[in-house]
Amino acid sequence: DTAVSQTPKYLVTQMGNDKSIKCEQNLGHDTMYWYKQDSKKFLKIMFSYNNKELIINETVPNRFSPKSPDKAHLNLHINSLELGDSAVYFCASSPHGGLTNEKLFFGSGTQLSVL
């Protein structure tokens, strides 16, 4: 009964490959996010979708493409992986989004290692 679940937990791949990370939330929330946590544990937002609509798109290389087929799912596809993409990627959701005072519920993360 995991609230926000993402797969895979670990992803090891070669430079230049294309990979996807999937995320699903069963909380009935309207908004979903992707965050990137670097080796120094700094959490930075990448994207946010509210009811399948992109509302936040930070300065992220266009090799990263989020896709939200419905408001319970937000996937992240990464093309032409680079060494610098190695990080932990977290999916999160919040009840409404687009408003202030939102609380985030995080998945357990996907550790991506690019060799």
Binding site: V4, K40, K41, F42, L43, K44, I45, S48, N50, I55, I56, E58, F90, A92, G97, G98, L99, T100, N101, E102, K103, L104, F105, F106, G107, S108, G109
Partner: protein, 111 residues
């Protein structure tokens, strides 16, 4: 860095109390504290919405500064399961404003 947290690393003895801080030059509509345990995502501990608000969650107490630019989190009678990274996160006013995280404070508790 929008949100400054100090200290970056903290090691305390089990049973001790501790206070960690979060400061910014920006005014926030809300300020939240999260804890991240190893191998997991951050979990919300306390959310603050009003200037000067003091809120408790078990052994945790946090306060939002009067100017809405700072906060502290106090943990009393620490236990080994308190280990983790403590993040403060602030949200600016306005529609679609994002939640911005501080760099976090890594806490270890010595038995």
């Amino acid at each position: 860095q929008l949100l400054e947290q100090s200290p970056q690393f903290l090691s305390i003895q089990e049973g001790e109390n501790l206070t960690v801080y979060c400061n910014s030059s920006s005014v926030f509509s809300s300020l939240q504290w999260y804890r991240q345990e190893p191998g997991e995502g951050p979990v919300l501990l306390i959310a603050l919405y009003k200037a000067g608000e003091l809120t408790s969650n078990g052994r945790l107490t946090a306060q939002f500064g009067i100017t809405r630019k700072d906060s502290f989190l106090n943990i009393s009678a620490s236990i080994p399961s308190d280990v983790g990274i403590y993040f403060c996160a602030g949200q600016l006013s306005g529609a679609n404003s994002k939640l911005t995280f501080g760099k976090g404070i890594t806490l270890s508790v010595r038995p």
